[in-house]
């Protein structure tokens, strides 16, 4: 428990340092002004989202290959964190686009494919919710997780494949002055660490949830009738990972 608290505190502290760098160390952009400072967190969050979805892909493949409950938990944790970081990416991007492009949204290839990415993994989370807990949820979600990852390279290469308004890569093209580059790399490292910590914490939560009896997690849509209760056999405990325990 304290381990997770320590990791969470460390990740938050690092993000605060990154924020200080973004606002006080990095120079103001000559063309865009202070709005450009959104870039550091926006791109870092996008990379953290890609990394989280890569975790989902690895967890999904491992689950289907090895039937490992741990791999499935890892995929679950990655999907949730990935959706959060995709949301951050989209919201930050829209806030930047309003003053720079004059509109929150345009149907640009990269924006559209990122929105699709969000929808795909939101669908992944829905499948988890609607499938029978255990094997079925894990299998179906793994299939969605593997198919969904197809969109990640599409988002990444969209600026090369289509004519888009979205700025292209700035790191490989050496377009950033050293202070900006340092701030960006530092923010990216911190954000990746934050994503890793969140996935680890979520993994722990999923482990604990797997040990909970099913009845406390999924409320029955029907009120139990007296006759059915009397006729019912003694309740079995069914964990979320599907194993049935005799009372």
């Amino acid at each position: 428990m304290t381990r997770y608290l320590g990791a969470a505190g460390g990740a938050v502290a690092l993000m605060l340092v990154a924020a200080a760098l973004i606002f006080f160390f990095a120079p103001t952009d000559a063309l865009q002004g202070p709005v450009q400072r959104i870039f550091y967190l926006h791109v870092s969050a996008a990379i953290a989202a890609f990394a989280s979805f890569a975790v989902v892909l690895v967890g999904s493949v491992l689950y289907l290959w090895r039937d490992s409950v741990r791999a499935d938990r890892l995929a679950r944790a990655g999907a949730l964190v990935g959706v959060v970081f995709t949301t951050v990416t989209l919201v930050m991007g829209m806030l930047w686009a309003k003053p720079i492009w004059g509109t929150y949204w345009t149907w640009d290839a990269r924006l559209t494919s990122t929105l699709v990415l969000w929808i795909i993994y939101a669908g992944y989370l829905l499948v988890r919710r609607l499938a029978a807990p255990g094997r079925q949820a894990a299998r179906f979600a793994a299939v969605v997780g593997i198919f969904g990852f197809i969109d990640v390279p599409v988002v990444y290469f969209s600026v090369d494949w289509w004519r888009t308004q979205h700025p292209g890569p700035v790191i490989a093209t050496d377009a950033l002055p050293p202070e900006m580059l340092f701030t960006f790399l530092f923010t990216m490292a911190c954000t990746l660490m934050l994503a890793g910590t969140l996935i680890a914490i979520r993994y722990r939560i999923e482990t604990l949830l797997d040990k909970q009896p099913l009845a406390t997690l999924v409320p029955s849509p029907l009120p139990p009738s007296g006759a059915a209760l009397r006729a019912a056999p003694p309740p079995h405990r069914v964990g979320r990972s599907g194993e049935v325990k005799a009372p």
Partner: protein
């Protein structure tokens, strides 16, 4: 391999015979696609000048939603009669069973296209060229593979009608992008038909291979 093909053909034949005997799905879908054109007319205020710009979008919207219904129905009857378990208990490979279901559902969608394309030619002035028909058929292959995979999945879930479009539509986007390009080229826009057809073929190969690999995990439970 030949055995798997025989299984797939037998399953597809069974589904097509069932559809021929009831004649439920295809007439309803054919009516639906024509109705979609009527609704599009009211939604877009179509005249002869705006029709070429709007027709490709209308074609793919009608086709996508007809496809969702067709593929959703592919597993609905099996679920209602609880026959899927019986089929899965046989020695046949799940991938072969899945291929048969997808083949039959895809062919039923082709029948709807046989109504949709002439209707588009009649009402929207879309020229029916060989390339356009080929593009629609190529898109149907990939859409059937993906649509049936997720239809097989959601047939086993709660709230299945809700979830099928949410899972399927995002992954159909490549077919709509390339297919839309093909229709625009057919209607005189810039670009080449070959490029759109090649893109469709690439995605067909990708998704047919991926879905046949994944079928085992969705069906064999």
């Amino acid at each position: 391999m030949t055995r798997s093909i025989a299984v797939a053909v037998a399953i597809a034949r069974k589904d097509l015979v069932a559809e021929w005997r009831t004649r439920e799905l295809v007439p309803a879908l054919a009516q639906f696609v024509v109705l979609a054109l009527v609704i599009a007319n009211f939604g877009f205020q179509i005249d002869s000048r705006s029709a070429p710009a709007i027709a490709p979008g209308v074609l793919w919207l009608a086709l996508v939603f007809a496809g969702l219904v067709a593929f959703g129905r592919a597993f609905a009857a099996e679920r209602e009669q609880a026959t899927l378990e019986a089929v899965l208990l046989t020695a046949a490979a799940p991938a072969a069973i899945f291929a048969g279901k997808a083949l039959a559902a895809g062919l039923l969608l082709v029948l709807c296209e046989a109504v949709l394309l002439p209707a588009l030619a009649l009402f929207f002035g879309v020229p029916i060229s060989f390339g356009l028909v080929f593009a629609v058929l190529l898109a149907t292959v990939g859409m059937a593979a993906l649509g049936c995979l997720f239809a097989a999945m959601v047939a086993q879930l709660r709230a299945r009608e809700l979830l099928l479009p949410l899972l399927t539509l995002p992954l159909w986007i490549p077919f709509i992008v390339a297919g839309g390009q093909a229709v625009q080229v057919a209607m005189g826009a810039d670009g080449t038909m070959d490029q759109a057809l090649k893109l469709l073929l690439d995605f067909d190969i990708l998704f047919v291979v991926l879905t046949s690999l994944a079928a085992r995990f969705v069906l064999d439970d």
